[in-house]
Structures are given as C-alpha cells and as structure tokens.
Amino acid sequence: MPFLEWIRERLRGGSPPVSTEETATPSPAEDLISTFSVDVGHGSFDELHLNVTGSIHMANAEKARKELLAAIDAEPLKNVVLDLTGVDYFDSSGVAILLELRRECSRRGNLLNLVNVGDRVQGLMSLADLEGPSREAILEPRPLPNLLVQIGDGVLKVHATARDSVTFIGAVITGLWRDLQRPGRLKWDPVWKLIERSGSDAVPIVSLLSFLMGAILAYQSANQLRKFGATLFVADLVSISICLEMGPLLTALIVAGRSGASYAAHIGTMQVTEEIDALKVMAMDPVRYLVSPRVLALAVVTPFLTLFADMLGIIGGLAVAVLSLDVTSTQYINQVAKVLEVDDILKGLCKSLAFGIEIAIVGCLRGFQVRGGAESVGAATTSAVVTSIFVIVITDAVFAVLFHYFRLV
C-alpha cells in the first residue's frame, strides 16, 4: 500500500492493514532465539561431549552462554568437546562465548576442544587474538587510587591550573600594556567587529531584560510601600538598586552567557583545528592576537550596555508606577532626579568595566585550555560561563566592601 494511502487510512481511524503473511511468520529475532540448543552427547569417561545446533547470534547469545556454562558446570571434572556440526549461523558473540568457555575450562584444569568448526566460525576465530593475554573486566571503570593519592592529584591539579591561570593573566596584561603603549600597532579591525558582535548585537536582549527587571522590582516593592502610603518611593528603590546592583550584574550575566561562551568556543575550536599552532608558527602571539582585542572590546562594551540597562530599568519602573500605582510620570522622574546621584551610576559603570575584562579573560582562558575534541570545547564553554558568574559575584562583593571601606556608600 502506498505510504500516502496508509496515512489517509490511519486518519480515517482505520487500523493499519496487515498482510496475512506478516502475522503468520515470527520475527527474525524470535526465529533465531528459538533455534539454538545444546545436547549432551556420548563421550568417554573423562570427556563431556556437547553438540551445539542452530544459530548463535547477538539476540540469543545470553541464552546460549547460560546453557553452555550450565552444561560445563554439571560436569566440572571432564574435558569438554564442543561439536559445532549443527551450527548454521555464528557471529562475534559466539566467539566471545567460546573464549569464556575456554577460560572456564582452563580455570578448572580442563581442556576445551572444538570439532567440526565451519568456515565462518573459523574465519571469525582467526580474527580474534585467542592466544593473547586475557584482559578481564576491561569495561569496568578503573579502580580509584587510594584517598591520599586522590588528594595529592587534586592538589597538583589545582596548583597547575592556578599557575597556568596566573601565567595567562600575566601574558594578557603585558600584551595589553604593550598594545596600549603603541596603539598604532594594534589591529583595530577585529576590535570593532567584536564590539559590534558583543555590544550592539546584545542591546535588544539587555534592554528587554532590564526593562522587565525594573518593572518587576517596582511591582514587588509597591506592594510593601503601599501599606505605608509611600508608593512614590518606588522611584528611589528602582533607580538606586538598578544603577548600583541590578544593571551591572544583569548586563554582566548576559555578556558572560553570550560573549564569554562564544570566546571560549571560538578559541577552543581553533585549538582543536590547529589554528592556534598555525598562529604560533607564523610568529603571532595567540594571546595578543586573540585575547587583547576581546578584552578591549568587552572593556568598552560592558559599561555602555550597563548604561542602557540602567535607563531601561528605570523606564520599566516608570511604566509600572504610572500604569498601576498612583504616581505620575513627572513625579517619578523628579523623584529619580532627586535621589539618584552621578556617583551611583559611576560606581555601577566602574564595576561593569571590571566585569567585562574578567568575562573576556575567563572566556579566552577556558578556550586555550581545550585539549582533545568536541567534548572538551563544550566543557570549556560551560566552564567559561560558570567561572565568569562566580568571578562576577566575587568581584561584586569586593566592590561592595571597597565602597564601604572608602565611605563611598
């Protein structure tokens, strides 16, 4: 039946037509399972004669294995003769069973002899290294070393990672310092491209999320402030929290998810495809060629995006204040102008500059740490985002302490 007709039939609610032949014959797998059998034949007093008939196939291998092992177990003191005359099909699983039988026999000090081995079985056995050393439990996970060794390995790994990270950051700083001393030698084309990709392309998502964040903050706080008849103070709360914390933090998280991950994946893939090696043999320092433009791009872009986030966050608060609280837009804007100082905005921008530089360095570092293939690139990308978020929050905490210490708050 043509496929389309079959579909139409199904849509009409009819059952799929089944040919009588299909119902009559069992599936090939069932057929193969049912054909295997082992008979104990007549052997001498110290010999167990087993006649195997039918097929040994991946589908029935487990059944065959159990039956054969049970037959051997029943006569543990006898040498085994396995007669394969009746075997009509045999695949690699059969060879695996024969190897196991041989191991079992030799463990008991008995011999396993194969008789009437067909061409196919012989061909398969000749491919297997039957004389090679038996490697048991190769699929088992490797046993873990003792706790002390594991701790030692962990410490060495942390030490190596810390050393690599410090070396990398040192190389980035010296590279940047040299580039900034001689800006004419820096290739600005890639910097502009990166600014466009990491900056202007991120404006829509940053705007949308910060608008919503401002609106949510206003809405949540309004419920509490309404109890005191102080709904106008929504403007204070939204503007200060957005400019000092939420704006820089939200922007940094978006930049880490977009640009940090992209830098790690890009550089990681370059590592896999030997492009980094190609740069090195062309006497190009990959750190200066790949990292400096990225650090510069994010150092420029993140504060600008934060400024956008601040504005849109305050507008989000305004929208909620006007639409669902009894506050006019003039009142809201006047209140914002009264409480928000330039200092607050500058503090946020200062933090976002640090966040941008950190995200670029972490993303690039994770990219350079890629070894191997696709899996490693994926891990580097994930790690770039997670590490960036961690570093961002730590830096935010450090800034909070510094601002407090220098009485800037």
Binding site: T273, E274, E275, K280, V281, M282, D285
Partner: protein, 279 residues
C-alpha cells in the same frame, strides 16, 4: 646529479637571460635544519630519544615511520611547538626556542608550515588567510598584498577562489590554500605534516607534483612528515625512518636505499606488509 655552482656568481646565462644556479643537494652543504640529539614526549612518556639529523639547503627531506613512532612529536619540536626534554633544533644556525617569545620571530619568519588539517582560519576567506602573514609581518600596501595573494593562490591552482571560505572547499583545495598561506612570505623551509592524508590518489599526486615544482622553481627546502609510500618515492631526496620501540632513527638514506634495506622493520614499511611478515 646537479652541478655545483661555479665561482662566486650564483647565476648562469641561458637563452633570454640569467637563471639562478640550483643549490646542490649534497651532504657537504651547510645544513639549513639541524636536529641535535633531541629527546621529547608528553608528560612522563618519552616518544623519541637521541634523534639527530641535518637537512641540506634545497633538499626534500622526509621523516617516515609507522603511526605512533613520533613523527608528529619530532615535527612539533622542530617548529618550537613542543619543548624537547633534551637536545636542540637549529634552523639556519639559530636555535628554535619557545615560539611565543619575540626571540623566535626571526626563526619563524624563515619557515612555512602546512598542517595536516590545513589549519586555515575558518572565519576568514582564502584571500584573507593568505594575506594574514603578509599583513602581520610586512609593511606592504594593501594593493601589493592583494596582488601577492592572487599570485600565491594562482600558484596552487586556486585563482578565482579568493572570496571562498575554507568550509566551501574540498579537502584537496583546502590543503592547497594552506600551502599558499605557508608560502606567502617566501620561506626558506617548508614543513609538511602528512600532506596527502585524507586525499584521493589523484589529488595526492597533484600535491606531490606541486611540491616538486615549488622545490625546483624556488629551491625551497622541504621537510615532509609522511607515511604515504608513493609520495615518499615521488618527492623525497633523502629520508629518515623512526621506530616506535627504539624511539630513534632506524634507517636513513635515499628512498631507494630505504626501499632496498634488509632491516625487517624498514622492509615491512616499504613493502606494505604486516610487521611479522617482513621476510
């Protein structure tokens, strides 16, 4: 056998002008690449140990061996991508040091490398790839760089594909484009890592022909890491063979010498026989 240059003037008159004398490929020449007692590996595992050889100017030198014998490790050491445990590599008399340092720039300007995968920058067009070393290491104008890019790409048979991205090309074309980039700065030495890997026999033969043509016309010294027998026999002047167990050179000489070697390991390699059947 080619003639040695006569006197101090390295040109000879031919109908219609002068041509540069070919530098002789003989062992008495001052070596352009000198590998001295190099031992290298990864972590605790030593892959090669006590490897020494010289490559004369103008020579096509092949490094042979079975998979895992340390060809690529030696290749990386020669370019400074891997720091050896012991020994040193001299290129034109200068040691190859950590390639990221500025000290290595002088040495690296003398070499061009064709990686196994080509290693073209995937985000750049072919023209930008070839222009990359020219833009970064010369003060040439964009117009001159443009002409040079067209010239280099036409030399490898890719004229008209300047605007293509590497992903739009076949494997053979990518290799040729990578060769054009490697030759962009007219290096004294070209290194090839498995140039024929993954190519069909015809494309592989065309690449061999291109290698010979470049060697003949520019007298570029070439070091080729390979295990492709037809390529070795077609292009190499001299070869060394590394061995996985011994971790060092087990045979050296012309490909003809190696092919007639009595060493069972060399024999198995050159007669494409499993290692146990080299009799």
């Amino acid at each position: 056998m080619e003639a040695r240059p006569r006197g101090w003037f390295p040109f000879r008159a031919v109908a219609g002008g002068m041509v540069r004398e070919q530098t002789p490929r003989t062992s008495w020449s001052v070596p352009l690449v000198s590998v001295r007692n190099v031992a290298a590996g990864y972590g605790d595992e030593t892959i090669i140990d006590g490897v020494s050889f010289d490559v004369a100017p103008g020579e096509i030198f092949a490094i042979l061996g079975r998979s895992g014998c340390g060809k690529t490790t030696l290749f990386k050491v020669m370019m400074g991508l891997l720091e050896p445990y012991a020994g040193e590599v001299l290129i034109d008399g200068e040691p190859v040091v950590d390639v990221v340092g500025e000290a290595a720039e002088g040495v690296l300007r003398k070499i061009g490398v064709l990686f196994q995968s080509g290693a073209l920058f995937t985000s750049m067009t072919l023209a930008e790839n070839v222009a990359f070393p020219l833009r970064n290491h010369t003060d040439l104008s964009e117009a001159t760089i443009g002409s040079l890019v067209r010239l280099k790409l036409s030399e490898v048979g890719l004229a008209g594909r300047e605007g293509s991205l590497p992903a739009e090309l076949s494997g053979g074309m990518r290799k040729r484009a990578a060769l054009a980039r490697a030759m962009a700065l007219d290096p004294k030495i070209l290194f090839f890592d498995e140039p024929s890997a993954g190519l069909d026999p015809v494309t592989s033969a065309e690449l061999d022909e291109m290698i010979l043509q470049i060697n003949r016309s520019l007298n570029t010294t070439m070091v080729i890491v390979t295990h492709e027998l037809p390529s070795i026999l077609a292009v190499a002047n001299r070869a060394i063979m590394l061995d996985r167990e011994e971790k060092k050179i087990i045979a050296q000489g012309t490909p003809g010498d190696l092919a007639s070697s009595e060493d069972p390991r060399v024999k198995s390699f050159f007669h494409r026989r499993p290692s146990g059947e080299a009799t």
